[in-house]
């Protein structure tokens, strides 16, 4: 039996050096006993031996090193044994670490996670107490009792976080110091080494008691995340029992309390608020823009961001009507600003129509979509939704008073003409409405974006531009007439 006594209880490099020697000498894990200086020697006098050998040592997967570096901080006496056993087995089976169901791998994984959890709890539950030194400078000290040897691996976190402070963390097995520049370690200490009181603790306890909601007691949850063993070093923990005891009563009291009269401040405030404005007829685009945000004529308002109303001059000879706002339009609140809007803009520029002189809107003002994965997928509005929104389109037509209305796509055509008009039958010629305006029908620009075949797309693009060319010609005549 080879016995190895390590100088340090959690120094991975030291363990690695010794393990490498054993491996070279070909000594099997069953023939080695490991211990650190803090554990008692066995009954039989042990002889420390340095075995010699020159057997080649293979490399190990990085996952083993990572877990081993963490697990060596576990306070379990078997950690060195386990690490060496795995190292030994890894020489023959390089894929061992991938076998998540292997008992040794599971044990190592559990040991490492216990250490990580302990380190995490140190980050969470260290409570610094402030001490003013002779120069009036504030210093901080904390007492903490970890389950494992986690101070060395955790202290750098505190150095990164409290760089601008001078602090010490004292544990039973080691202490860490930060002077504002460098981290250093020293032997462990006692609870009495750090101050017992702190001026801010009272505020902290007040906060702890007030942020607690007595209507939602979940004591098991609290205890699993903040195990009782930590409570003795947490100033707020003394409040837990009284808070729980008072909770049921507090909740009952809350519920039993009858509703009271509102304070006079509230009544004054209510009186100050303007009397509700009578709903009068909407007689301007500005008024319509406000009113449409409250529209609940159909269900689409429920999930869209807001209504996207038309944009453009208050009076315009030409009005473009699309289907509905898309994702971009919904987010920005402006019509035709997404990909389809860019297609429209480019085509208008090509045929010489000034978009800014025209009024651009949609048949339906709210975005209809279906959430799928991480995106909102456009859905075509149905007849009821088109009908419900006709109110707003009619209002826009009445107020803007266009001579020419360009219906982009089937939804716009349906809204303006009723029925189920086919674009291919009607495109390229004017249809007169009852109020004298002319409706001109073409495709929706997003139709072009959906054509996969480049040749077909170019063809349709040409037709679209030809249609808009006609629109441009009619628009010029209109300018001349007016």
């Amino acid at each position: 039996m080879h016995s190895v006594v390590l100088q340090l209880r959690n120094d991975f490099d030291e363990w690695r050096g010794r393990a490498r020697g054993l491996l070279r000498a070909g000594i099997a894990p069953d023939n080695v006993s490991w211990r650190d200086p803090s554990t008692e020697a066995g009954l039989f006098a042990e002889v420390e031996s340095t075995p010699l050998g020159e057997r080649p040592v293979g490399s190990v997967p990085p996952m083993f090193i990572e877990l081993a570096e963490t697990a060596i901080n576990n306070s379990s006496a078997e950690r060195f044994d386990l690490l060496y056993r795995l190292l030994w087995r890894l020489q023959d089976d390089r894929t061992l670490m991938d076998v998540s169901s292997d008992p040794d791998v599971i044990r190592l994984t559990r040991m490492a996670s216990a250490v990580r959890r302990d380190s995490h709890k140190m980050k969470a539950f260290v409570r610094f107490k402030s001490i003013a030194d002779d120069g009036g400078q504030e210093r901080f000290a904390a007492w903490f009792e970890p389950d494992h040897f986690t101070l060395e691996m955790t202290a750098p976190f505190f150095a990164r976080r409290f760089a601008g402070m001078v602090w010490a963390i004292v544990t039973p097995y080691a202490s860490a110091f930060w002077d504002g520049e460098a981290l250093s370690f020293a032997p462990g200490g006692r609870k009495s080494d750090v101050p017992q009181d702190d001026a801010v603790e009272g505020d902290w306890k007040t906060y702890f008691a007030s942020i607690f909601n007595p209507a939602r007691l979940k004591i098991a949850m609290m205890k699993s995340e903040m195990p009782v063993k930590y409570w003795r070093n947490l100033p707020e923990a003394e409040l837990i029992t009284p808070l729980i005891r008072g909770a049921r009563a507090a909740e009952r009291e809350m519920i039993a309390q009858a509703a009271t009269q509102p304070p006079s401040r509230h009544l004054r405030q209510q009186a100050r608020q303007d009397a509700p404005v009578a709903v009068s007829e909407i007689d301007s685009l500005a008024a319509a823009r406000l009113a449409v945000q409250d529209c609940r004529r159909c269900g689409l308002c429920e999930h869209a961001t807001r209504a996207v109303f038309g944009a453009g001059p208050d009076r315009a000879a030409v009005m473009f009507v699309g289907e509905q706002p898309g994702d971009h339009e919904d987010l920005s609140g402006q019509p035709f600003v997404g990909p389809a809007g860019q297609v429209l803009d480019a085509a208008l520029a090509k045929v010489g129509v000034d978009r800014n002189a025209s009024y651009v809107t949609n048949a339906v003002k709210h975005f209809k979509f279906e959430p799928r994965g991480k995106r909102r997928i456009h859905q075509r509005p149905d007849g009821g939704e088109i009908q419900a929104c006709k109110y707003w389109l009619n209002l826009e037509i009445k107020l803007v008073a266009p001579t020419l209305i360009v219906a982009l796509g089937a939804t716009a055509a349906e809204s303006l003409l009723g029925g189920n008009p086919r674009i291919s039958d009607l495109r390229g010629r004017g249809i007169e409405l009852d109020d004298g305006a002319t409706v001109f029908i073409t495709n929706h620009p997003s139709y072009l974006l959906r054509i996969p075949d480049a040749g077909k797309r170019a063809e349709e693009q040409e037709k679209f531009e030809a249609d808009l060319g006609q629109v441009a010609a009619i628009a010029k005549q209109l300018v001349r007439v007016s």
Partner: protein
């Protein structure tokens, strides 16, 4: 009015803040105070520094700047018609408390919200001042979460995002009708417009590989929201539909579901019942399935009944029990996406299963070791040495897997 001590203000303004469920301090950029004279760091995962007996993590100093409010939202403890004690912190008081708490390692940072006083702009400006002072005057690098006041000026939102890690705007109610009834002064479109603006800013701040210039930083921990469950009649279907719309529309990191709690001096228009905590829990589980397990809302609701999730079993098990024809799945062959549908298997266990089976075929005991528990899993899988036989289609399966009803005893 008598002046309140700082401690009394703290009591009032943290009591007023406790109905906001979020206390997350995770998901921000990596940042530390190394080399500065300041304090503070964020390293990706958040830290819960304490737990209250309500089982909620205490990670942040969660307070209101003031609980005076001009709005009269029925569900809110701070509504203008309520007689709760009122208080207001000064900007400096909040800054000092945050630093004092942070230096003692009580907190990860500050979550600051406020009642609406004077105007949305004025209120938002106060919140921004606190954040600016912490970052600029005190070189504070800890976590900051600011509440966004809907209708505040876009410039204020831009500055808030410059200082804060996270911003949030509460949608409050699962349906617009619910909001209209319980919070008549709040407009759903204004709340969603604020979220859309934040989304725009967050998109702008996402580094574009093609562009060389690094975009200006904006709320690196993104935006979140909260809705109250059980104050109105909205069912789980409406709640999850709302959440799905919000996640896809505004790229939210989280939707928080807050079981409606009875509040002191409650309005007579509210249900005076203890909060539906199990319902809240099931909603979180369903939310998780949508975001990480490839489920959609109709599928999840198919596991429930009449628009409500099954309270007795978790939503994945509920779905599987109604879709037994898809099971059992062979753990040695099924692809990851299918394994995600197996009750009792989480994403981590599934990753381990997929890695391990490359080397040898898994037996039931292997799956048990990897997943930690096997009862829920067993009826839905096949392994090298296991086939569930008639267990998958057993009519009593649901009863066997549902936890026994609490405290039932025959006399």
């Amino acid at each position: 009015m008598a002046t309140l001590t700082l401690r009394r203000k703290l009591a009032v303004l943290s009591d007023a803040a406790k109905y906001d469920a979020s206390c997350a301090s995770s998901g921000s950029e990596k940042r530390s105070s190394a080399g500065t004279k300041g304090i503070g760091s964020t390293e990706g995962s958040g830290i819960c520094h304490s737990y209250a007996p309500d089982g909620r993590c205490i990670s942040l100093l969660k307070i209101l700047l003031t609980n005076f409010c001009v709005y009269d939202c029925v569900y809110c403890v701070n509504r203008s018609s309520s007689n709760v004690e009122r208080a207001r912190f000064s900007v400096d008081e909040v800054v000092r408390l945050t630093l004092d708490f942070y230096k003692r390692n009580y907190i990860e940072g500050l979550f600051l919200s406020s009642g609406i006083i004077r105007s949305p702009d004025y209120t938002m400006e106060q919140l921004v001042r606190v954040a600016r002072s912490l970052r600029q005057d005190h070189l504070f690098a800890g976590y900051l979460h600011l509440k966004v006041i809907p209708n505040a000026a876009p410039e204020l939102l831009a500055e808030a995002g410059r200082w804060a890690d996270r911003l949030s705007t509460n949608i409050e109610m699962p349906t617009d009708a619910g909001l209209e009834t319980l919070a008549p002064e709040k407009k759903p479109s204004e709340i969603r417009t604020a979220m859309a603006r934040l989304r725009g800013k967050l998109d702008e701040a996402t580094p574009d590989k093609a562009a060389r210039a690094k975009p200006e930083k904006f709320a690196p921990a993104g935006q979140s929201t909260q809705m109250i469950v059980g104050a109105d009649s909205a069912d789980d279907h409406a709640i999850l539909n709302r959440a799905a719309g919000l996640y896809t529309g505004y790229k939210l990191r989280r939707v928080y579901y807050s079981a409606f709690s009875p509040i002191p001096d409650a309005s007579s228009r509210l249900p005076l019942r203890p909060p539906p905590l199990m319902r809240e829990h099931r909603l979180y589980q369903a939310d998780w399935l949508i975001r990480f397990y490839g489920f959609d809302v109709p599928e999840i609701m198919a596991g429930g009944q009449d628009g409500l999730l099954d309270l007795a079993v978790d939503p994945k098990l509920a779905w599987a029990l109604k879709n037994r024809a898809r099971f059992p799945l062979d753990v040695n062959r099924a692809d990851r996406e299918m394994l995600l549908r197996v009750p009792g298997l989480g994403t981590k266990s599934i990753d381990r299963i997929v890695a391990t089976r490359r080397h040898h075929r898994l037996r039931l005991a292997d799956v048990a070791r990897i997943s930690g528990s096997i009862d829920k899993v067993r009826p839905f899988i096949e392994a090298a040495d296991w086939t569930p036989g008639g267990l998958t289609d057993d009519a009593r399966l649901r009863a066997r897997l549902a936890p026994p009803p609490e405290q039932m005893s025959l006399f």
